[in-house]
Subunit: 214 residues, 2 copies
């Protein structure tokens, strides 16, 4: 029964995440979430203590999942650029599985409310961002990367490009000429193009930087 109960909670979390991503925090009413998850509205409060608790639980889930992943990368003995390539692949690969959550995150981050949630987001995302920054800084320090490179802006470009593709999906679709919310298109078009683009561009800027005369 504990397993069934957990399945039920997980199902609610899934439905809620999808609806929060589509409609926003206020737009996704508890009534709609309960209806869509086929549970009584009072169960949301019974399980999660309220709407905010449900919202929190979604973040908790992703935090714990992420902690498992984010460990044995920076230990490997490979070049700085190979590390960076792994980061690029990693974030591009999570494109589909994390799509809804990413929408929620960036939307929440752009709001000046719920500062407790905001702090949670920062501590969650900052791990990734600071890790990437560290890799770039290392590359600069050990002389393999362009010494003029701006590690902060590079992080902004890496994360910003992906978030633009996902959060501004309608614009991206217009640009690319295909529906970038279609899983097939993401897998066969967006992912490979994003990976290739980031690697080539970063490589040209960080490694083959022989055009700077000054």
């Amino acid at each position: 029964m504990t397993e069934e109960k957990q399945d039920k909670k997980d199902h609610i979390l899934e439905v809620a995440e999808k609806l929060f991503a589509e409609l926003g925090y206020d737009g996704a009413s508890t009534r709609l979430i309960a209806q869509e998850a086929a549970v009584n509205m009072a169960m949301l409060n019974y399980y999660f203590g309220g709407k905010e608790g449900l919202y929190f639980a979604i973040f908790q889930k992703h935090v714990s999942e992420q902690k498992l992943r984010l460990q044995n990368l920076n230990n490997e003995e490979i070049s700085s650029f190979e590390k960076l390539e792994k980061c690029i692949d990693n974030y591009a690969d999570k494109m589909m599985s994390n799509c809804a959550f990413q929408k929620i995150i960036y939307r929440e981050m752009s709001l000046s409310q719920r500062s407790d949630i905001n702090k949670k987001i920062i501590s969650l995302i900052s791990q990734n961002a600071l890790e990437v920054k560290k890799i770039i800084s290392e590359g600069i320090n050990n002389g393999s990367f362009n010494p003029e490179a701006d590690s902060d802006m590079l992080v902004a470009s890496l994360f910003g490009t992906k978030s633009y593709l996902i959060n501004a999906a309608e614009m991206s679709s217009l640009l690319i000429g295909e529906d970038v919310t279609d899983p097939d298109v993401i897998e066969k078009t967006v992912k490979p193009r994003l990976k290739n683009h980031m690697k080539k561009m970063f490589s040209a800027y960080l490694i083959n930087h022989n055009g700077n005369k000054k």
Copy 2:
């Protein structure tokens, strides 16, 4: 009196834009907007026909303002990269004046509601995005840009980097080590670094692309 009335309407629009950016559409109640703008709540409906009308009016204002600006760029007889540099400067310079509106735009674009507003946004933003894409495509076609470059992804990187800095301001502040919502910091630090970063990176990738052996 018509002038006074227009000033009043403009003032309401300013206050509303700020509050919508900070708190989101649902978070900014008409009561709060009216209070903050020091007008009676009923005036919002009297002037704009309702909350949605007020929201619409903000978009209308920016659309009409933009149409004035977006004309005599692509006519100039300068190199493709110089055009691209002008675009970079242009979007970086609008960073402060457009900050609140950009938050609203990207948040709205990531939501699956208000499709009428969404279309307005797409038609507004797509002009800029497609213009940049056109410049890059031209550069590729006339042989001055890296023929392997992905114009769509480059647009995503340009717009995505800026939107990351603004919409994920708390993350950016953590990265950079300064408060990127502070106008002084934007002017003296963020703007020049963003401009320099985008120009250098695009230059390395699009022009000095001699590291590709295949």
